[in-house]
């Protein structure tokens, strides 16, 4: 039991910290370069081998570790040293409840591909994310710098505001899937529904059989399109990356809360943002894009078809690998989307960010809850 949890934790840490986070720093530079018609980072080399700039993450990390770690005069030393850790640990801990695969049985032994699977999985992520706010606030306050202080103040205001919408924007999803458990949510999306099924349920019109082929996978994005947009927007705002980089505000308050940080402590803030990108991608993939499920190919179908040829054990193992790959493919797609948004949209002004939260997203999310409830009431017992 304990070894299983440890292995899964090590796997997810290796994938997130070892592969995704360094790669994202490189992808961010390359993707922005492509979008701006530049070549981008390609100079770092080992013995002349450049590998299209893939050594840059390594060079970055080496540089950050070997740099001097300056604590400014008059800073609150303990808080200043602690703040980056408070920022980075919750971002890493969030991945504990995100399932990267389903439940597979090997000879009567169940293997569930999620580190911890509490009933309150999604709320755990919200709770742990709200702790991460302290890293930013502490960094801003303890640096003894007015710009940092402003950044910390902005961060606290922005995070508190967006936490409200963050919870409300996914209430519709809770209602549709009847659960807050992330593994159950992913499992519920491993099926499909008839696109016009509601006609039959609402108006009692029988549909011709060929219309049964017109199906959509029952993913959150199709059942809760507005919820998807609001959730993505809110999560990006919580992660403080452009266009929501109000706490950093390079053009206004220089670098905001991490202005006085150098070396690896700055690197930790940097890392927490990139891990945040991966967490958002994983969470959105799990809640709205079906998690590990392959559209139109439920787990039983895959295992059933393959096991008739190669036996159940092999089929289950293959299904496991396919599901994990599908999950990380979806994560990569979501990371790409966030990067594209980050380099496309101009940054918001402070009052625009606040207006977006309180005057647009909050009313919309409450309306979304009501509309979802109404639709569910109308087609109760229906397929959707």
């Amino acid at each position: 039991m304990l070894t299983e949890v440890l292995i899964k934790t090590l796997f997810i840490m290796a994938v997130i910290v070892g592969a995704f986070t360094p790669l994202i720093t490189w992808i961010e530079r390359k993707q922005s370069a492509m979008m701006q018609d530049r070549i981008g980072a390609n100079r770092a080399d080992i013995a002349g081998i450049r590998m299209i700039g893939l050594f840059h993450p390594l060079a970055d990390i080496l540089k950050l570790i070997t740099k001097e770690d300056v604590v400014p005069l008059g800073a609150n030393r303990a808080m200043h040293l602690l703040a980056p850790l408070i920022a980075v640990v919750p971002a890493l801990a969030a991945f504990a409840v995100i399932p990267f695969g389903g439940v597979y049985s090997f000879g009567g032994k169940e293997l569930s591909l999620v580190v911890a699977d509490p009933d309150w999985g999604l709320l755990y992520i919200f709770a742990i994310g709200s702790i991460a706010t302290y890293g930013t606030i502490m960094a801003g306050w303890s640096s003894n710098n007015n710009w940092s202080m402003l950044g910390g103040l902005r961060a606290s205001a922005q995070m508190i505001s967006y936490e409200v919408t963050l919870g409300l924007s996914v209430v519709g999803v809770f209602m549709v899937f009847h659960t807050l458990k992330l593994s159950d949510m992913a499992l519920a999306q491993d099926s499909s529904f008839r696109l016009l099924g509601f006609v039959e349920v609402l108006f009692g019109l029988p549909l011709p059989a060929w219309l049964d082929w017109l199906r959509l996978p029952s993913w959150g994005i199709f059942l809760q399109p507005l919820g998807f947009l609001m959730f993505l927007c809110t999560m990006m705002a919580e992660n403080k990356r452009p266009p929501f980089d109000i706490p950093e505000g390079e053009s206004e308050i220089i670098a905001g809360y991490h202005l006085e940080y150098s070396g690896m402590r700055f690197g930790l803030f940097f890392m927490s943002e990139f891990i945040g990108v991966v967490v958002i991608a994983g969470l959105v993939a799990t809640i709205f894009l079906g998690g590990w499920s392959i559209p139109f190919l439920p787990q039983e179908t895959i295992i059933g078809v393959i096991s008739s040829v190669y036996g159940t054990g092999f089929a289950t193992g293959l299904c496991l690998i396919l599901h994990v790959l599908t999950f990380f493919l979806k994560v990569i797609v979501m990371i790409w989307l966030q990067m594209a948004l980050r380099w496309t949209l101009p940054r918001f002004r402070y009052d625009q960010v606040m207006d977006l939260c309180w005057k647009v997203l909050l009313p919309l999310s409450i309306a979304n809850v009501f509309v979802t409830a109404l639709v569910m009431l109308l087609i109760q017992g229906g397929q959707a």
Binding site: N76, F126, S130, W141
Partner: protein, 167 residues
């Protein structure tokens, strides 16, 4: 010592240290607010040990995540210097606090000296969202609605207070 008991003592010590750090720290308001966060998180850990998961999550989300952030926001916005809260002025408050502390101490001692009833087995699904939700919307629906009304009144009041001109 089993793991839950060890965890309980660990969280208990952390929460007591956190609350002491909050109360005894008279020099720095921000660090004392951070001690409050430590206390809140440790309390949430104790709630988890008591199988009250939903209370634990909301403890962190509401108290740890929102309320103390607001405290910090106000403290940082005012940016008070240390000598504005010089200790040793409010005699009456101190006297009242000491009295209240004595009463709490007496009550605690009384509880500790009497024998506790034997532990009951935890009912199925205790502390889960379904149970809490059903309880809130059937037995306590009136209270939920009343607190909703109260919050609405508070929001409207805050809006009116903060808006210079009502249009």
């Amino acid at each position: 010592m089993t793991v839950p008991i060890f965890l309980f003592y660990a969280f208990a010590v952390i929460s007591i240290l956190g609350s002491l750090g909050m109360v005894l720290n008279t020099r720095n308001t921000v660090t004392s607010a951070m001690s409050l966060v430590v206390t809140m998180v440790a309390l949430a850990g104790i709630y988890v040990l008591l199988e009250a998961h939903i209370v634990a999550v909301f403890q962190i989300m509401v108290y740890g995540g929102a309320i103390v952030v607001l405290f910090l926001f106000v403290v940082m916005l005012l940016n008070l210097s240390t000598d504005e809260f010089r200790p040793g002025r409010q005699r009456l408050v101190k006297l009242g606090a000491m009295l209240l502390g004595l009463i709490v101490l007496a009550a605690l001692l009384r509880v500790l000296t009497t024998a506790l009833p034997a532990a009951q087995p935890i009912p199925e699904g205790f502390g889960g969202f379904a149970q809490v939700g059903i309880a809130l919307y059937t037995d306590y629906v009136l209270l939920v609605e009343m607190s909703g009304l109260l919050l609405l009144a508070a929001i409207v009041g805050a809006l009116i207070l903060s808006k210079r001109k009502i249009d």
